[in-house]
């Protein structure tokens, strides 16, 4: 019980609740259910990407290409929709998942087969993917009026009062929760990140596990690409530019160790929600737009500092006396 209370996730939940209460005390409309749904929906892309990024970071890698992958896949989906307006949504989603996974696989194969450091690989593919968007679209935007209503309507459609976009975030979290905790692959993510050297001894192929992480992260980025483009009804070269760092920030705020091997999916999701609330609350509570950037930056720094304090391992205790005190 004490363990649960002291966990990083619980702490983060507490911070999120406190933050929400603080905002609500000044702007009661913020905790209006409709607005909360809104905030959650707005945060959904970040949540989905954070799930993918969390897996990648667990394996001691990092994927800086997620936002570029999102933008490229989104553009392809939008262009497909323009070219074949009749294409059913499931087909579009399949394209998004497959293309995203493919782009992730490119990262993965470079990390796996050529053992290039992930940050270098994804720094490279980040610029390459963005460039490809320009090449295929000739720099032109795809605007709302060119997209079919079904295409733009899908993430907005409501089921039980919640937009599909939000449901997809919930579903993603649920599926990956099972993957992480109950499949050999999920456990391998922890093993590979926690002690890659030892993972080899345990018969785990480190490179392939990292490859799988990149494919999953890419797949989720691709899915988000379609959802993003449909939600905001526009596709162009620069969508979600710089979002990759926000995704990483969400993971780390949520307690995913940047050195790999430690942290939980729940933490990453809470980290995303934390950032989402800050981002969404600031315009709503009427803070000058010029203050927003600094506030979210400060929030990241404070959250990380807090997190590191909370997560500091006390290590073992040799003195019997101290051990007794610690248990008391």
């Amino acid at each position: 019980m004490i363990r649960i209370l002291k966990s990083r996730e619980a702490l983060l939940v507490g911070v999120i609740l406190a933050l929400t209460a603080l905002i609500a005390s000044r702007f009661p409309a913020f905790i209006d259910p409709a607005n909360l749904v809104n905030v959650f929906t707005d945060t959904s892309p970040l949540i989905i990407l954070a799930v993918g990024q969390a897996i990648v970071i667990l394996t001691r890698c990092i994927d800086l290409s997620v936002a570029a992958n999102l933008a490229l896949t989104g553009m392809v989906c939008a262009m497909l929709n323009v070219a074949y307006p009749g294409l059913p949504i499931p087909a579009i989603i399949a394209v998004a998942l497959i293309l995203g996974a493919l782009l992730g696989a490119i990262n993965g194969i470079l990390v796996w087969k050529l053992t290039i450091p992930p940050i270098v690989v994804t720094l490279g593919t980040l610029t390459i993917y963005r460039g490809i968007i320009f090449v295929i679209s000739d720099g032109a935007w795809v605007n709302a009026h060119e997209m079919s209503p079904a295409f733009t309507g899908f993430p907005r459609a409501e089921i039980l009062g919640l937009p599909v976009l939000a449901w997809i975030a919930i579903l993603t979290a649920a599926v990956f929760f099972v993957v992480i905790s109950r499949t050999p692959l999920g456990r391998a993510f922890y093993a590979v990140g926690g002690n890659p050297h030892a993972a080899v001894y345990a018969g785990i192929n480190v490179g392939r596990t990292q490859f799988n992480a990149f494919v999953l992260s890419g797949m989720l980025a691709g899915l988000t690409g379609y959802l993003w483009v449909a939600r905001y009804s526009v596709a162009y070269v620069d969508i979600a530019k710089g979002f990759e760092l926000e995704v990483v920030a969400a993971c780390v705020i949520g307690g995913i160790a940047i050195a790999g091997g430690a942290g939980t999916l729940m933490g990453a999701i809470l980290g995303a929600i934390f950032l989402g609330i800050i981002k969404n609350a600031l315009p709503v509570v009427g803070i000058s737009p010029f203050w927003q950037l600094a506030i979210s930056g400060a929030a990241i720094v404070i959250a990380v500092a807090f997190n590191a304090r909370a997560g500091r391992t006390k290590g073992r205790i040799i003195l019997k006396r101290a051990e007794v005190e610690a248990q008391a």
């Binding site: 809104n38 707005d42 679209s137 720099g139 032109a140 009026h145 905001y232 737009p289």
Partner: protein, 309 residues
């Protein structure tokens, strides 16, 4: 060499923006009319001054005859443009201006005062009893939007019932603008209109109004492209909006560049420079001239223009 084509570079804020693509069409039209003119359409991929400077550097190196620029930052590009002028290149700005010392003349799409009045007038037309309006601008640093907003504020006295409750910035990013628009509607439940004097912001705001089920309550207006705004007019999210014709703007800028570089017209206060089918441009004390009045689009004429730009 008379046979070498005259090379006029059109440096835009960022590649891929519909408005500038249309301006490029106008430039091409002018080039065809003039003959022996080559248009180099270029610009950075994101709206930064540093990006434009790199582009201008390479244009200087290529020794183009004229640079026509819509600046991301009126001051930051001044030194590099001054260098261009020192190397004998004609420099003029259009759409979003460059500080006076960095160009020979500035072609404003319309007079700033007129635009300022138009955007508030568009909102006021549908608010006979007054009400709350909010501004959704581009980046906080973009010159033209800031000037228009200033001009608009200057005439607010003529609209006593109308209150501007907030100004927010969507950075000319679709998602950011969308979120800001949603934020506006939540913060100000009684909001009646959103004025977005930017083609990116206005589309995003219209989308947000539709998504928030606020059609009929919040009217989105401002400056936008008919092709992009057709849907918003149809859905009723926007009653009307205005814009000048970007094709004409590109055409006029090219004509001016040609006059200055080939026909050696001197751009000085009070000068009158011809610009082909667009007539003549009269330069004021800051060697700035306005092309034409903004034109208003609504349900009655949108169909006619949506295919054009």
């Amino acid at each position: 060499d008379a046979h070498e084509p005259i090379r006029i570079a059109l440096v835009v804020k960022a590649l891929g923006i519909g408005f500038f693509e249309a301006a490029n069409d106008g430039a091409m039209e002018a080039a065809e009319e003039l003959g022996n003119v080559e248009i180099i359409y270029t610009g950075p991929t994101s709206t930064t001054a540093e990006g434009q400077i790199e582009v201008i550097n390479s244009l200087i190196a290529q020794g183009v005859d004229a640079i026509v620029i819509s600046a991301n930052d009126p001051d930051a590009v001044v030194p590099v443009l001054q260098r261009a002028m020192q190397r004998g290149i004609t420099v003029l700005s259009f759409d979003s201006g460059v500080a006076e010392e960095g160009r020979m003349l500035h072609l404003a799409p319309s007079s700033d005062a007129l635009i300022g009045r138009t955007i508030i007038q568009l909102a006021a037309d549908h608010l006979p009893d007054g009400g709350q309006v909010a501004l959704l601008s581009a980046t906080a640093t973009s010159t033209n939007q800031n000037t228009w907003i200033a001009e608009m504020n200057a005439v607010m006295g003529d609209y006593p019932g109308i209150e501007v409750v907030a100004t927010v910035y969507g950075d000319d990013l679709a998602d950011r603008s969308y979120r800001e628009a949603v934020g506006l509607m939540q913060t100000y439940p009684d909001l009646d209109a959103i004025i977005a004097p930017t083609s990116v912001g206005i589309v995003a705001a219209a989308q947000a109004v539709v998504d928030q089920d606020m059609v009929g309550q919040v009217n989105v207006t401002g400056l936008g492209l008919p092709s992009e705004m057709a849907g918003a007019i149809e859905s009723g999210a926007s009653q009307s909006f205005a814009i000048w014709n970007p094709i004409d703007l590109g055409y006029a800028a090219t004509m001016l560049a040609y006059e200055l570089s080939v026909n050696e017209v001197v751009a000085e206060p009070g000068a009158v420079v011809p610009m082909g089918r667009m007539g003549e441009l009269e330069l004021d004390d800051t060697t700035t001239g306005a092309m034409a009045n903004p034109f208003t689009y609504d349900a009655s004429n949108i169909e006619q223009f949506r295919e054009i730009f």
